[in-house]
């Protein structure tokens, strides 16, 4: 279990794609549990892990006022939108092939397969206050996908499936490429801020 605070900085993105002009602060609680302590009769479930998160997103401004001009009449218009406080919640279920191989059953599968972590993730958002213009409907996506763990990098790919029409009308895809800087350059950019550099390491042997 851990807690964190994320800050979405305002005025750092294009308004045309919905980036806001104000900060959003989100204290978040993270929880996770691996099933490695299950008895032998349930050993095939040991590689399963579940994670969860609950965050409370607090916009730095309660409302946003937009001034414009009515294209038909030419009259000035004022549009006020209330920025809701939002409960961000979700979780994952994942199955670690590396753990299966090293702690449950070595199936003798190719190394490429043993590096996969299939997962399903859910990310939901529920406006809970200051909802005059946003409504309170929960939106979100269910995201099946996988991680593939390499020696110096990791790839993640997920489909984004909207849970309702308000969340979207098409299936999307998100991908991530994550570099292990402490393995790639342990004495340079990957060096610990405090303490000496460590020997590069990975969950898998290097050839």
């Amino acid at each position: 279990m851990s807690v964190g605070l994320s800050v979405e900085w305002g005025r750092t993105g294009a308004q045309s794609v919905g980036a806001e002009q104000f900060n959003v602060y989100t204290p978040t609680l993270y929880v996770g549990k691996g099933f490695g302590d299950l008895p032998d009769t349930l050993s095939w479930i040991r590689p399963v892990a579940i994670t969860g998160q609950v965050g409370y997103a607090i916009p730095g401004r309660r409302s946003t006022t937009t001034f414009g001009v009515d294209p038909d009449t030419g009259d000035p218009t004022i549009d006020t939108e209330f920025n809701p406080r939002v409960l961000n919640w979700g979780g994952t279920v994942q199955y670690s092939m590396p753990y299966l191989k090293s702690a449950v059953y070595d199936l003798g599968l190719p190394d490429f397969i043993n590096r996969f972590i299939p997962l399903v993730e859910a990310t939901m958002q529920t406006p809970v206050s200051n909802t005059f213009t946003s409504g309170t409907m929960t939106t979100g996506t269910i995201n099946p996908g996988f991680l593939w763990v390499g020696n110096t990098f990791q790839v993640g790919v997920e489909a984004l499936i909207p849970i309702n029409r308000q969340s979207g009308t098409n299936v999307g895809v998100i991908a991530q490429l994550h570099f292990y800087l402490d393995d790639i350059d342990p004495r340079g950019i990957g060096k610990p801020i405090f303490g000496p550099a460590v020997q590069p390491a990975s969950p898998f042997p290097r050839n």
Binding site: G18, A19, E20, V24, D40, S43, T51, Q53, G55, A57, P59, T64, E81, N83, P84, V86, N88, G90, T92, Q94, P98, K101, S102, A103, V104, Y105, D106, G108, I117, E121, T123, M124, Q125, P127, T133, S134, T139, N143, G145, L147, V149, Q154, G156, E158, L160, Q166, I174, Q176, H178, Y180, D182, D183, V198, Q199, P200, A201, S202, P203, F204, P205
Partner: protein, 118 residues
Amino acid sequence: MRNSAIVLAIPLLVLLATGEASAHAFLDHAEPRVGNTVAAAPREVTLWFTQKLEPAFSTITVTNSAGQRVDTGKARVSGSQMTIAVRPGGAGTYHVTWRVLSVDTHTTDGSFSFQVGK
């Protein structure tokens, strides 16, 4: 919906990324293989790790179905490989528990089972 930027949470992919990357010695494979069945009790158990080990602080324990230790107590370490001799035993489930210190000073541990003669 303009305020969608507020309610759009970033999927956890980024958070999931950190779990496997830390610099530790992980068990790569073992002989007898993890979870597998062998016809006769092995004379020794060998583990291969993903990093070189510090011999003085790396141990293996092997127990039989009755929970009795059947290893000889002193593991041999060579680089990233660790081996321990096992006294002759019968059929059943054997449990291997390991704890190692890698040369980068991180300690890891784990366990697995294998079957004999079933």
